[in-house]
Subunit: 734 residues, 2 copies
């Protein structure tokens, strides 16, 4: 509390725009000093003012502030660029009268001033990379006052308003704004299935065909609505088409330099075909992931079934936890290994732009997440239930492990007496959609917060102890740690903490939401309360994610975007797969014993199951097509507004062109007011004869026959009169 | 022959740009004359010169030519518009130095001068519509000389070159250009399956799994390649994004007038939701089409089977033609009825733009075409073969019809002795892919040509007879029919013929090709020679279609487009359905009797069939996704060129902006060259104290501590020295 009010007393973050964290720990003195001087000179060169303070034992904090004039020029340059790429409609006003529109634009432009290469007008400072690898952080400062106010306000209302989302975007930039908008939109959409699911659960129980159909339709509408909403938001936030402005990856290694024929510039090229060959490695990667994780999950699953349903020996109540412990230990380890393989593969693919790199990585990460999240339930539904009676006898191998400890006869129940647990599937779905969500929330928000504070306490304690032991030493440096001016003490303490925080990645939060949507699409017919659980969960999620960004991460540098990117495809894919799994679940488990197989494997007919899947999937695709077509018709309001503006601009330009023409006009003789000379047949024929003599060009002779429109009209009138009278005569004769 | 050379002697079409066909037959004299005058005055107003000649008995020909200056201005206006809509990259040069780039642009712009409403700078003449409904035609004139030359050249080569296609586009506009490019691309792609299919047929026979897989893959690659090619062509022909410039439909009936908030203009609105409700009528329409055509086709099919395989009575060799005759008579009739319903439905949907109207109509037409083209084969493959033994007994009803004529016992073979004709499916596929193509060619190209000439002969003969009878009548008008100047005689005769020709619709030809592609995708595993047949057919098709456009239709008004439009979706759809039907055909008919059912209905297993379909379809979708992703990576050459141009333009602009800034620079004091005052610790502290007294703003105090980057550097150096020496001391102490 004290920190925030004091910061306020000191003024809003002391007008600091960015803090550069400069670590000199691992380089020698002279080099560190030279590098620091270079840094400060370069910053000054692009018009950034700096102040240096001590960081921790081996680092400095360089505070950066942009001069108003240079900032305005940078904003102007950035807007001109946007205009040239078609992101802005109107040409920006001149640099002198420009202001950053909001904090996000200000911070983004200053970030560009620091990081862009010098030929694009920046200082060319690349944190953690190349010659600037001593710079371990580049971050704006949290506005704690505002953050706290918002968090307080939001905890008292159900929905965030459009203005709240605009404010998030103004503070944290479009990419974070898009995440919160998505979360808010998803949350709002969940109301319907939450209510409907609750009613279905109450009235019809699980596996109701009505719920399944409605849920699938809801999924389609939600995904398509969000696509439309993305367009709307990108128009509202003026980022439509931002993906056209691609930023090149620094790590990209071109194979050769090629002179571009169109532009005449040298540029690094890496052949697309070669990259595609490398991307083929994704196939073995997916197989390895599936096998690696699949074996772990399936084995633990088998052990669990063995212990829960076959084993009957001593210590059963303790042994039952073994599979859970194994899964909790092995799956994250395996995932981490696979993740590092995925990152290596992605680096090896050598993408040219950051967008391409992120998209490719997201796709690989999704494979791992799909397996870890959904495989356990899929195994239960489509392997355990239909094939358990065939598989369970093979679990005898575990008996060999057990035999040393217990006598054979009463150790395990007989295989023949084994019966499938009918509630297993539902319990598992409940576990993943309720328990796991709560655990996830704790792991992601509460645990790091506690860890952080504990770590700070520990550091403080350590320093105090060191300080005590230092007191005895005579040669204590006069500029000892944290010898700050009194009025800056609290401020610098806060900054030192912020610098230590990790960097926020919006894609992790998006992934979490997409995986959650997957449970809804794939398995919710089993237990129609799933959407209700998610509805409640997401109210908290939205607030806790904001809290997380404010407290547990560095303030993110604003990034622009016009979509949630590859996760959108993921949503569509999950909704599609849902149409298959829902139908299969419905066929296998629905109904009473007389109407369907109700989970009894003997009653499941292969052809019927496949036919149900075939119809469900194609019905899904047809409805999706219809919804897409319908959605495309309805123009989002901001898109319409944007189109209106563009239209007006065009119209104004065209009108000015027409005006310019009209001004030229008087010089030209008006062809309409032209009075034709008296026209007689003989005169005409004479004309023709005269012309045929004059001009050898038959085309000119043709066009000279009738001069002016009124001559043509007279000739035409003549023909009409002749023809109609002829027609009348013919009639009369008849 | 004579006509063409004579036209050449007269100069290229006498420099006529457009001919307006003005019919005065059904309006009274005075009105017709007034209307004609208005027409000519309006034309003159927008800068179009006109000449009037007689048409047939009840019409005039108004020849139109644009004045050079007005045309150039119109071209300029059109290009500015394109530039504003982002179709052109560079702002066009001023009107005075502009020229139409090619004939298509010239004709398109003149057409706009005639037809655009006056507020957009046109004459507002709308043929066949509203007050201009007397104008029954508006057409440019064929360039017979060139047409003939091209036809001759192309008949001697296998492939058209890029330049040939560019020439087509220059003459007939982009939409015709796109059709021929598509046809050429399809033809070129057919080489591979033609060769491969022939080899498979020779070595493996029908229903080979290798052929099916390759054919499906080929289909995917072709469709995706064409998508890419479309982008390439639209960049080459500068029409990329042309669909953004939507032309409003004249027939659109707004429900209400609404003031647009953005633009402040009144505009007609028809609610999208209402249109969607109307579009729901498509569902009953599709059902009616399916039932209507399905019943006809199925009945004829049943009769055919009855006669061919059960009936054994007299006149069998004649009766066998009955079903064919019935199909030939009823299906086109039913199609025509359905077509008129489709058009009415489409009108009722009240689309706002021409594009939307055409797309919606195409979709409806496709439903009809799909049924008439593929249903017969689908019936044979998926109803006749597996279920014939169940259905055939019901064909007894036809026996009742036959009974009156023949004695019962030897009239029909016994149902029990009935055996499925194993070659029926293949024969049917051969019929549709060879015979029907030849018949189609004849019906579409040769028959109309003969009919046309016969009609002309007949008219000529009729006129002569009338002329003879007229000779007796005394009051023959002096300006009697075809009383043309001698040198224009041949020219006017040709024009009178051209005016009578129907209007060319490129969509009909595209439909034909898409339906053809469908046979390949859906059924070619049955008879792998299908692609070879199409390859040969399409060599002729390309030439005959060109011949058709030149001889049997009015010269089309050039239209711009950047895609073959809805037919592209159709191709993708057919290729998808092909993945289902091919797999099913393969499973049902492939292999020897020991490995598969080989068409024996008893051996077909429902679950296996469905499983094969499921895998085939999803394999198809995965491969399509991979091919799409790969294709997106490879940038088409013209798109790259276009991007390069755009990049250069942007770079030039940005550089000039930077330059302007650099020129402003000297006014500002260079922060780097600033020499700091001597810096000591005491001086600094004094500064701080002084500042804290001066300024109450803590932020200002913060930023005043270090003046200039070199002061910051010194402070930083101090901290680094202190920290590193402290570290060293600590080490020493240890």
């Amino acid at each position: 509390m004290a920190t925030a009010t004091e910061a306020n007393a000191l003024g809003y973050n002391l007008k600091v725009d960015y803090v550069i964290h400069y670590s000199f720990g691992d380089s020698d003195q002279a080099q560190a000093i030279a590098q620091l001087e270079k840094l400060l000179r370069t910053l000054a060169n692009v018009g950034l003012q700096s102040e240096v303070r001590q960081g921790d034992e081996a680092s400095l904090l360089v505070f950066v502030r942009a001069s108003k004039r240079r900032l305005n020029r940078a904003v102007y340059r950035s807007r001109v660029r946007d205009w040239l790429y078609g992101i802005r409609n109107a040409e920006p006003e001149p640099a002198s009268s420009i202001e950053p529109q909001n904090e996000a634009e200000r911070l983004r432009v200053i970030n560009h001033m620091i990081t862009l290469p010098s030929e694009e007008g920046g200082a060319g400072i690349t944190p953690n990379h190349g010659e600037w690898k001593n710079i371990t952080g580049l971050l704006p400062l949290h506005d704690e006052e505002t953050n706290k106010k918002w968090l307080h306000e939001w905890s008292q209302k159900t929905f965030l308003s459009e203005e709240d989302l605009d404010q998030i975007r103004d503070k944290f930039g479009e990419s974070v704004g898009f995440y919160f908008s998505f979360l808010q939109c998803y949350f709002r959409f969940l109301i319907f299935p939450a209510v409907f699911g609750f009613s279905c659960w109450f009235l019809l129980g699980g596996y109701s065909i009505v719920y399944t159909l409605v849920n699938s339709l809801w999924g389609i509408v939600f995904v398509e609505y969000w696509k439309r909403k993305e367009v709307d938001l990108s128009c509202r936030w003026q980022t439509k088409g931002i993906s056209a402005v691609r930023t090149n990856r620094r790590e990209f290694k071109p194979e050769k330099e090629v002179r571009d024929e169109g532009t005449g510039e040298m540029r690094g090229v890496f052949p697309a075909t070669k990259r595609m060959q490398r991307q083929l490695l994704q196939i073995p990667f997916a197989l390895v992931s599936a096998i690696g994780l699949g074996v772990i999950i399936a084995t633990c699953f088998a052990i669990e079934i063995f212990i829960a349903e076959l084993y009957d020996g001593p210590l059963k109540s303790y042994l039952i936890f073994i599979p859970t412990i194994l899964v909790s230990a092995l799956v994250p380890t395996m995932s981490a290994v696979l993740m590092s393989i995925a990152t290596k593969l992605n680096d090896y693919e050598n993408h040219e732009t950051n967008d391409a790199y992120d998209t490719a990585l997201t796709r690989k990460v999704f494979v791992i997440n799909f397996i870890t999240s959904y495989l356990p339930i899929l195994l239960t539904a489509f392997v355990y239930v239909p094939f358990a009676s065939h598989i369970v006898p093979y679990l005898d191998i575990f008996r060999l492990t057990v035999r040393p400890f217990v006598s054979k006869e009463h150790a395990t129940a007989d295989c023949s007496s084994f019966k499938i647990d009918p509630h297993r599937l539902r319990n598992q779905v409940i576990y993943f959609t309720v328990t796991a969500q709560i655990v996830g929330f704790a792991m992601e928000t509460i645990v790091p917060y506690i860890k952080q504070h504990a770590l700070r306490e520990y550091k403080e304690y350590n320093k105090k102890r060191n300080g005590k032991s230092d007191k005895d030493s005579p040669e204590r440096s006069p500029i000892m740690a944290y010898d700050d001016p009194v009025e800056e003490k609290e401020f610098l303490k806060r900054i030192r903490n912020e610098v230590e925080l990790p960097v926020y990645e919006v894609t992790d939060d998006l992934r979490e939401m997409c995986i959650q949507f997957g449970y809804l699409a794939l398995f919710s017919p089993t237990w129609p309360l799933v959407p209700l659980s998610f509805f409640i969960n997401n109210w908290i999620e939205l607030r806790s994610d904001f809290f997380k960004i404010c407290k547990e991460f560095q303030r993110p540098t604003p990034l622009r975007c016009d979509t949630i990117g590859p996760w959108l495809d993921t949503l569509g894919f999950l909704s599609w797969v849902g149409s298959i799994t829902s139908a299969a679940l419905l066929y296998m488990f629905s109904g009473d014993s007389q109407t369907g197989p109700n989970g009894q494997p003997t009653d499941i007919k292969g052809w019927a199951l496949l036919l149900v899947i075939f119809f469900s999937e194609h019905l899904y695709l047809i409805i999706r097509y219809a919804v897409q077509t319908a959605m495309n018709r309805l123009e989002p309001p901001n898109a319409r507004k944007e189109r209106g503006e563009r239209y007006l601009m065009r119209k104004r330009y065209l009108e000015s062109t027409l005006q310019a023409e009209a001004n030229e006009e008087p010089a030209e003789k008006d062809p309409v007011s032209e009075t034709p000379s008296e026209l007689t047949r003989t005169a005409l024929e004479e004309d023709a004869r005269r012309n045929s003599g004059h001009s050898a060009d038959p085309a000119e002779r043709f066009w000279m026959r009738q001069r002016g429109w009124s001559e043509s009209a007279k000739v035409g009138t003549g023909i009409i009169l002749a023809q109609t009278s002829k027609g009348d005569n013919a009639k009369k004769q008849q």
